[in-house]
């Protein structure tokens, strides 16, 4: 509650005090009173880190790969922040957060800040908490931030979507392809990694993945490129991706509210200046093979990640993504806040049970109740 204490904590975080960073994330995660002021203060200091999200089924080797990635970045002299997200029990709220075990290459290295988080059963809250924790790491001064999560459901997909680059990890073996399609995870991957590439069936998994990537026909074309910059860029690139470039133009209005107006200018300018022919207008995900336990293929993965980041920067999508994230954050906050207002309103009217009784006894219906509760709020907004 105490604004002074919060400011002090932020100051210590910006000064590079590990304990302050840890405490800020705790407050974010448990939504301690005052955490919003913290995030507000931190916000201005963010935007310097590149964020990679890594997802994949349990046992695919995410943690081991993250460990090796972190090591690689540390060897380059960069600092690393990692957030490992694990599911929590829906029954007790308890969780065993196990990813830390695999962080063997960065033992005792305080410049690798690893933090485990669990879902804590809050609807949509996990992605907000993760995004805020990323901000804390960013403000702290971490060069690279990695979010690691089990790709099990919508919650986790929302989490990795807060990253600039999404890596989907697959292990060789049957059934994976179908599973991937089911989970809708194919669409979110910017880089695909077939880990345990020394196992039998690895090359088959690679070719299956490649096939599916080419089939996927960029379903995001309409979602994340709501500006004409990319289209214009595509034109100058002239890379035989005309069909997709078209898609961009068509989709130009779809997400207009997220990214209209001012980066049209930016991006056009950039495209004009570079006018490079070797940057494709549409990112085609790479499929990379690694053996995380030995570190094989990590260099190639790092290259692919850097390439993707460069692509984002050059195509102007980095800004588009940042804007999308901001709009998603605003919406998410509004949703949860309005929800709480409504809960309070329900309480004020004697709790939901009375309404439930009335609905069950057919005196009224759920729609009428909702209308009734919403009425005063609607009036407020209409004024």
């Amino acid at each position: 509650m105490n604004r002074a204490v919060e400011s002090d904590l932020v100051e210590r975080l910006l000064d590079g005090e590990h304990r302050a960073l840890a405490r800020v994330i705790t407050k974010i995660e448990s939504q301690t009173p005052g955490y919003r002021d913290l995030v507000s203060e931190i916000h201005a200091h963010t935007g310097n880190a590149s964020v990679v999200g890594i997802t994949g089924s349990p046992g695919a080797g995410k943690s081991t790969l993250v460990d090796k990635l972190a090591k690689h970045y540390r060897d380059q002299g960069e600092t690393v922040g990692i957030i490992g997200v694990d599911p929590s029990s829906p029954y007790t709220g308890g969780a065993v957060l196990g990813d830390r075990i695999r962080m063997a290459s960065n033992v005792g290295d305080m410049d690798v800040f690893f933090r485990s988080m669990s879902a804590r059963g809050q609807l949509g809250g996990l992605s907000t908490a993760t995004a805020d924790a990323v901000k804390a790491l960013d403000a702290f001064g971490k060069d690279r931030i990695i979010i690691e999560t089990v790709g099990a459901g919508q919650n986790e997909v929302d989490v990795v979507k807060t990253a600039d680059t999404v890596v989907v990890l697959v292990q060789p073996g049957s059934g994976d392809d179908v599973q991937m399609l089911k989970a809708g995870i194919l669409e979110i991957g910017d880089v695909f990694v077939v880990n345990k590439a020394d196992m039998e069936g690895a090359s088959r998994t690679v070719s299956e993945l490649q096939e599916m990537i080419h089939l996927r026909d960029d379903p995001r074309a309409n979602l994340d490129t709501g500006h004409h910059g990319a289209g214009a860029f595509g034109g100058s690139g002239g890379h035989g991706s005309g069909g997709n470039g078209h898609g961009h133009h068509d989709g130009g209005h779809e997400s207009g509210d997220a990214g209209h107006g001012h980066h049209d200018g930016d991006t056009d300018g950039e495209a004009g200046e570079d006018g490079k022919d070797d940057t494709p207008a549409v990112w085609t995900p790479e499929v990379i093979q690694t053996v995380a336990t030995t570190g094989e293929g990590i260099d190639t993965l790092v290259e692919a990640l850097d390439e993707h980041y460069a692509y984002l920067a050059e195509s102007g999508k980095l800004t588009v993504k940042a804007r999308q994230r901001a709009s998603e954050e605003i919406r998410q906050l509004l949703r949860s806040d309005v929800n709480q207002l409504l809960e309070a309103e329900l309480e004020r009217r004697g709790g939901i049970e009375a309404f439930v009784d009335a609905v069950v006894e057919k005196q009224t219906d759920p729609y009428a109740v909702a209308e009734d509760v919403l009425e005063p709020i609607r009036e407020c907004f209409e004024d």
Binding site: M1, E17, H18, R19, L21, A22, R23, I25, T26, K27, S30, Q31, T32, P33, G34, Y35, R36, S88, S89, T92, G93, G94, A95, V96, L97, G98, R100, I101, V107, G108, D109, M110, F113, F114, R115, S116, S118, R120, D337, Q340
Partner: protein, 139 residues
Amino acid sequence: MSADSEQRTIRCLIAKVGLDGHDRGAHVISRAFRDAGFEVIYSGLHRAPDEIIQATVQEDVNVLGISILSGAHNTLVPKVMAGLEEYGALDDTLVIVGGIIPEEDRPGLLEEGVDAIFGPGTPMQETIDFVKENAPERT
């Protein structure tokens, strides 16, 4: 701040430190803590004090549980405690030690700042209740 809905979750790090290959006890307690609704981070075997310090500081756990069966507690525990102090984590972390700790070594460890020692045969509920009552708040 009425819009903030606070929920208190106790976070614990269960740590195996030093050359001690037995972690059945650590597993059992991790699981019991999880079932009690805690968030448990298990360190895995053979951790150096530095790793335990790093994890405790970064994860901002309310509780650090160190399991030692090797007899090296008089060397390892003080190292961990000193590291926690260095990073300003000693005051607001509840440190409990479990395992084989001879009676005559206990006062020394408690003096180092360990909050409680639970030997073999301690009922699980006793440990859980102790944690629930004594885990420092994070506000």
